[in-house]
């Protein structure tokens, strides 16, 4: 049987950080007393009408611009009908066949659409399980009900769980940098569902998909998708078929449970919302949305690649603006040093050192200013210290701060590249390792390690490796 390929699409709900709700004047809130941010409109009293929040529309247009979406000149709100206490009108105002944002792209992934809608209220099921089954009573907190949401739906362009999580991080960063949402997964201001299917590698057809809900971190998203892919692969490889269903991933146990099957799927009876007129953004709104865009991760990564950086390093440095700012400040200070070298210092040794010290990738308030790393990179690039010494200096910088040149001085790390000085040390090394010297002469280059090790010990790692090699070659013809 051909290998099975993973096919993943994501549906991301982004709560917009507007001042008020989508269709009424109630303030948005998180963590307040239940039911204090309510009014006749968001409680769906008889006779009330929705009025769209202009700021939410502007934010949706910014998201559309950031995702390179086609913007509909006239998009339509629809009613999605269903009975549940979290939906006081018993319908959600959403968009259906003509969403505000149509086809677009973010990085490698095509966007199918992005539309505006309102969030449901929050249900609290009293009882041990915390779920509706088996609870003695259910309480409804309408504070969240009516919060503006943009739902972003991707095409099924992702091919693995890690890739899905990585792309979701890129999306979150992109939206965060627009300043239109808190994008906090734990608080639910960013919620990711995944549509998962498998198919024979190379096939163009899509397999039957399942929908995974409730993955409230990127780690859980990755684990949930991994678990579901494993389940589907096992099923298909054993000759079974995947059933369309909605699944709940429990991160604690790593298990998937079915919420509802295709047969139990709701008929939402969508129809155009008669209380609202078509949404027709003005030229001014469209222009403002485009002009409000900061440089976003994807564009920044492209720019870094044009500076010579490898794609992975470029993406890594470009994703978060704090890291990007650090990188660019360092490059500016390290005049004459190849940006690729600067990138390596930041993505490699500096990130590793920061992690070790629990300042996990904190580039907002770094103990080492960009100037410090720049100076260090320059010392190495100009061969004033060896690369190995550079790493030592960096460790000291992260731990204690200070001036790289002073640290070099203090620790005696200045690179010895004076041939005269090095020559005597190399000669001593040969003398101390006669066996190795014989082997090198006989053409066994593996033995060179012992001699170089001696030189490095003697010089505390400050010897210029290139010069040492040249001298050895000269003396032993290796």
């Amino acid at each position: 049987m051909a290998d099975l390929e993973a096919v993943i699409g994501l549906e991301i709900h982004v709560q917009l950080a507007t001042k008020t709700k989508m269709f009424c004047g109630c303030e948005l809130s998180f963590g307040d007393e239940p039911n204090v941010h309510t009014c006749p409109i968001c409680l769906a009293h008889p006779g009330v009408l929705p009025v769209p929040n202009e700021q939410a529309i502007r934010y949706a247009l910014q998201i559309g611009a950031a995702l390179n979406c086609e913007i509909a000149p006239r998009s339509i709100f629809h009613r999605k009908n269903y009975f549940y206490p979290d939906s006081p009108k018993a319908y959600q105002i959403s968009q259906y066949d003509i969403p505000i944002c149509g086809a677009g792209r973010l990085g490698e992934v095509r966007i199918h659409r992005a539309h505006l809608e309102e969030d449901a209220a929050k249900m609290i099921h009293v009882g041990e399980s915390g779920r509706i089954h088996g609870s003695g009573a259910s309480l409804v907190d309408f504070n969240r009900g009516g919060t503006p949401l943009v739902e972003i739906v991707t095409e099924p362009d992702l091919r693995g769980a890690a890739e899905a999580a990585e792309w979701a991080r890129l999306l979150r960063e992109t939206v965060r940098q627009l300043g239109v949402s808190d994008v906090n997964m734990e608080e639910g201001s960013l919620r990711v569902d995944a549509n998962v299917s498998v198919r024979p590698a190379g096939s163009e057809e899509l397999g039957t998909k399942t929908e995974l809900k409730n993955m409230n971190s990127f780690r859980f998203l990755q684990r949930g998708v991994e678990a579901e892919l494993a389940r589907q692969r096992e099923l298909v490889e054993a000759g079974g078929t995947v059933e369309q269903e909605t699944l709940h991933f429990d991160p604690a146990s790593g298990t998937l449970t079915s919420l509802r099957s295709k047969e139990e799927a709701h008929d939402y009876r969508y129809f155009p919302e008669p209380d609202l007129v078509p949404l027709a953004p003005t030229e001014e709104m469209l222009r403002e949305a485009r002009e409000a865009l900061p440089e976003l991760p994807v564009a920044r990564a492209t720019r870094y690649e044009s500076m010579g950086l490898e794609s992975d390093a470029a993406k890594l440095l470009a994703r978060e603006p704090e890291v990007a700012a650090y990188f660019e400040a360092t490059c500016a200070e390290a005049q004459g040093v190849d940006p690729r070298v600067v990138a390596n210092w930041i993505t490699g040794d500096l990130t590793a050192e920061l992690r070790k010290r629990d300042h996990e990738e904190d580039f907002t308030n770094p103990t080492v200013p960009p100037a410090g790393v720049a100076q260090l990179a320059k010392l190495v690039a100009e061969k004033k210290i060896s690369h190995g010494s550079g790493r030592k200096v960096l460790a000291v910088l992260v731990a204690e701060g200070g001036d790289p040149a002073e640290i070099v001085e203090r620790e005696g790390l200045a690179q010895i590249s004076d041939s005269g000085q090095l020559e005597s040390i190399v000669e001593a090394a040969i003398a101390a390792n006669p066996d190795a010297a014989e082997k090198i002469k006989a053409g066994n280059n593996k033995a060179v390690g012992a001699i170089i090790g001696f030189v490095m010990r003697e010089t505390k790692g400050a010897a210029d490796g290139g010069e040492v090699n040249r001298l050895l070659n000269e003396k032993l013809g290796s």
Binding site: P40, L43, A44, H45, P46, G47, V48, L49, P50, V51, P52, R79, N81, F83, P85, P88, K89, A90, Y91, S138, V140, D267, R269, Y270, F271, P274, D275, L276, V277
Partner: protein
Amino acid sequence: MKDLLDLTALEAHEAMVAGDLGAEEYTAAWREAAAGDELNAYLWRDEGGEEAAAIAVERDCVAPIAVKDIFTTEGVPTTAGSRILEGYRPPYTSTAVRKLLEAGAPVLGKTNMDEFAMGSSNENSAYGPVLNPWDRERVPGGSSGGSAAVVAGGLAPWAIGTDTGGSIRQPAAFCGIVGLKPTYGAISRYGMIAFASSLDQCGPLTRTVSDAALLLGILQGRDPLDSTSVGLEGGVSLPDREDLSGLRFGVPAELGHDEYDSGVRAVFEQTLKRIEALGGEIAEVSLPSSEHGISAYYVIAPAEASSNLARYDGVRYGMRAGGDGDLIEMYETTRSEGFGPEVKRRIMLGTYALSSGYYEAYYGQAQKVRTRIAQDFDGAFSKVDFVVTPTAPSVAFKLGEKTDDPLAMYLNDFFTVPMSLAGIPAISIPAGLAEPEGGGPQLPVGFQIAAPAFAEQRLLDAAYALEQGLSFEARPGGADG
């Protein structure tokens, strides 16, 4: 001076503004009259109790008004004629009532209506039927039957109602008063309990066309709380047109003789002659899609209603029944006990019409018919200024006569539904009296005039001229003018 209660709302208003009439005395006289309601027309009356505090006016300078019980009024019971909202006191006031209060029109009371405005006879009220002041064995029409009955029956100087497919015009015709359905969007729907959102429109029920103009002027306007409201540019002035010269009135060619009673036809034809006598011209127009109006209406309105009425679930307000079992059981018990049979019928019709797999065949198709009907009117209005029809196919029928036959009941809307679907304004004015088909004392017949969207001023001017020319002065109780 006339008896206080004989003044039209406009006359009273002018007398109050001039200082010739004490507002307190005038309003008190109407409160007393309203207290004598024997028609089951009021569901609640302002008797000066605590509830009334929220609807107090700063100054009485406009005639007190009866308000259909579909308009939310803070602190005042608002039921929409339904058991499911029994005891409900809204936490806010509708824009229409707020505008009335700001204009200085005290609310006399809330009027009975068909449940959630679904009906053409007022027999669908959970609080019992309203009786027609002309003949208490007959219906006042619906759904704004209470509002029509109080105006015709001398229980209020004027009233507001709502019209979705004829719910202002048909009861106005049955009760011998003026009823105006404005252009969709002329008056805010905020706080007007929704039946079919794309069709519902607030409007006046009055004794005269001038009163309707005065009331429309108060009510109209764009409301930031209603995205679909636009108001009437330039407002509304009192009509003063004296003849109809230069105006063309189109009679639909499709208006066969089978659709309506001979008595109604006689009055309709007399009225056309009167139009010509006033200098107007009668022409034939074609509205080929109108015959499908009822079918389209009874898909679109129930579809929207099925969604609009889904919020009555017993969770947050109003009636709750059951709930000892589980959530679904509470929903089912509350809605089974809270809604009447006609409401349930329409919820089921609408739910079906919107269901996956049926949507295009029903809702989609009905919307196409709606577009065609609007196009028909556009075509007609390129040739004539107004389209005229009888308002209803018959005079007021007997209580219980049509309750077992929903389709016969639905056909009452035959002449009024097309204008609702097209969103255009239409007025019904009393044009004469006719004997019911089965015989009996004469009853009022309404004449409907429809105009292009937002042409309310022209419509009122023409209706006023015709009203003067017809000088219909009959009143309930046999006083034959």
